[in-house]
């Protein structure tokens, strides 16, 4: 370890992290559908992953019914992150849209989608974000919307920048948008991150690489869609989201309707 690395708090090099990632992935079965919880290259996971197997549970009661959100919860203007302050935020203006469906292909209708992301310089409006990149006074980086009757969500925002973090030395997160998602039953609840096509940081990022199968992690990458781009105004990205299967549907609740 070099003196410079020790001055940085003894952080490992990218080479060390990349080697660990490669070793885990080489030993992983194909098509693991979710990230590893125990994934040491993401150092913060070391003490925060369960070591015992998950227990099989048959969902019942509240697990079969997602919370309901509606017009009283979300103002349609919250879907446009470029109009939340006095002026326009700096950055590439984009639209991000897609369909939210369940594991059986049914659209998840009128459900809450929440997003948050860094500004164009890679800085969050968050007290813990110490990255010395400029804060944009016209950008908070949070948005909400309800899906429509086809399960479609849409946000207008600016493209976030990559940002450094301290997982290892010279660690940079690929540009991403955090997504918080609900389905029709509570067991479908999830939070994930959407990425942008062809990011050179993908191979280096232990969070993205915690999904060990390349075809599975590529599900997190949006597609540039020229049909969504608007003349003289913005660029369009499409990202469809599939939740795990619902155990119950709105019309056939099982066990939640006891009189």
């Amino acid at each position: 370890m070099t003196t410079a690395e020790k001055l940085e708090g003894g952080l490992d090099t990218q080479q060390v992290i990349s080697k660990e990632i490669a070793a885990i992935q080489a030993a992983s079965p194909a098509a693991e559908p979710q990230p590893r919880l125990d994934f040491a290259p993401y150092r913060s996971s070391l003490l925060r992953h369960p070591t015992k197997d998950l227990r099989q549970a048959d969902p019942e009661g509240a697990e079969l019914v997602a919370p309901v959100f509606g017009q009283s919860d979300v103002d349609p203007l919250e879907a446009d992150l470029t109009i939340q302050s006095g002026g326009e935020p700096i950055g590439e203006r984009i639209v991000v849209t897609g369909r939210l469906v369940d594991g059986d292909g049914r659209p998840v209708r009128r459900q809450l989608v929440e997003i948050w992301h860094a500004n164009a310089a890679g800085r969050y409006i968050h007290l813990r974000d110490q990255h010395p990149a400029p804060i944009d006074p016209n950008f908070t980086g949070t948005g909400r919307c309800l899906t429509d009757d086809e399960g479609v969500y849409s946000f207008t925002t600016i493209k976030p920048g990559p940002y450094p973090w301290h997982n290892h030395r010279n660690a940079w997160r690929p540009a991403h948008i955090h997504f918080s998602l609900f389905g029709t039953d509570f067991t479908q609840r999830m939070i994930t991150q959407m990425y942008f096509p062809a990011d050179p940081l993908f191979a280096l990022d232990p969070i993205y690489q915690s999904i060990t199968d390349p075809r599975v992690r590529e599900r997190l990458v949006a597609t540039y869609d020229h049909d969504l781009s608007q003349h003289d105004r913005l660029l369009g990205y499409r990202w469809d989201i599939v939740l795990t299967g619902a155990h119950a549907t709105w019309t056939e609740p099982e066990g939640d309707d006891r009189a």
């Binding site: 559908p33 979710q34 990230p35 994934f39 993401y42 913060s44 996971s45 070391l46 003490l47 925060r48 992953h49 369960p50 998950l54 227990r55 099989q56 549970a57 048959d58 969902p59 019942e60 009661g61 509240a62 697990e63 019914v65 919370p67 309901v68 009283s72 369909r99 469906v101 594991g103 059986d104 929440e114 948050w116 969050y124 813990r128 908070t140 980086g141 949070t142 955090h178 918080s180 509570f186 609840r189 999830m190 939070i191 994930t192 991150q193 969070i207 992690r217 599900r219 997190l220 869609d225 469809d240 599939v242 939740l243 795990t244 299967g245 155990h247 066990g255 939640d256 309707d257 006891r258």
Partner: protein, 191 residues
């Protein structure tokens, strides 16, 4: 390329990361009922890592039935107006403490053991975790619960809240370690 037939393999999760605090919490998020509402209780505890250190950057959500065992399907969780929505969210404080003000769920089927359904998110946790917080009802009801009856005594106690002197319900969650909370997976998570 619109109108693709959707690939129905699930989109994988990712960690909530460290920077959710300005996005997800909101006024009243953890207060499912107003102070002083009939039957109002506090549900609380800590979220700990494998060294027993509280997580200052975890987010918990609960989903529950009302005292009559009905799971509400009304909107209004983000701008609470007195309706009981049966859903709440709490980000842990500096010491890893979480709390909700709510009412106790009733059983959703005859003889069922009432519980809060819980999801846990945190920096360092690569995907959400599901668990349950059971009410400390009588032993026979707990013993008959399909999930609890399959667990050893130690694991079972880690899913059942304790009643405190002031009526609060308390359960600590341990993401790792000798007191690790049993976390759940459901049939449709298998794809």
């Amino acid at each position: 390329m619109p109108d693709l037939v959707p690939d129905l393999a699930p989109t994988p999760g990712q960690t909530i990361g460290p920077f959710f605090h300005y996005a997800l919490p909101y006024a009243g998020d953890c207060q499912l009922v107003d102070p002083g509402a009939p039957g109002s209780i506090r549900l609380h505890g800590h979220v700990y890592d494998g060294h027993g250190v509280g997580l200052p950057d975890a987010l918990l959500e609960i989903r529950q039935a009302d005292p009559a065992g009905r799971v509400p399907t009304v909107e209004g969780s983000l701008h609470r107006d007195g309706r009981f929505t049966g859903w709440g969210r709490c980000s842990t404080d500096r010491l890893g403490h979480y709390w909700f003000r709510t009412v106790e769920p009733g059983p959703t089927r005859d003889g069922g053991a009432p519980f809060f359904a819980v999801t846990v998110f945190a920096r360092g946790l690569l995907n959400r975790l599901f668990t349950r917080i059971y009410l400390p009802v009588d032993d026979a009801t707990l013993a008959a619960d399909p999930l609890l009856s399959g667990l050893d005594d130690d694991s079972r106690t880690r899913l059942v809240a304790t009643r405190e002197d002031d009526g609060s319900l308390r359960l600590d969650l341990h993401l790792q370690g000798p007191q690790e909370t049993p976390f759940l997976t459901y049939p449709r998570h298998r794809g």
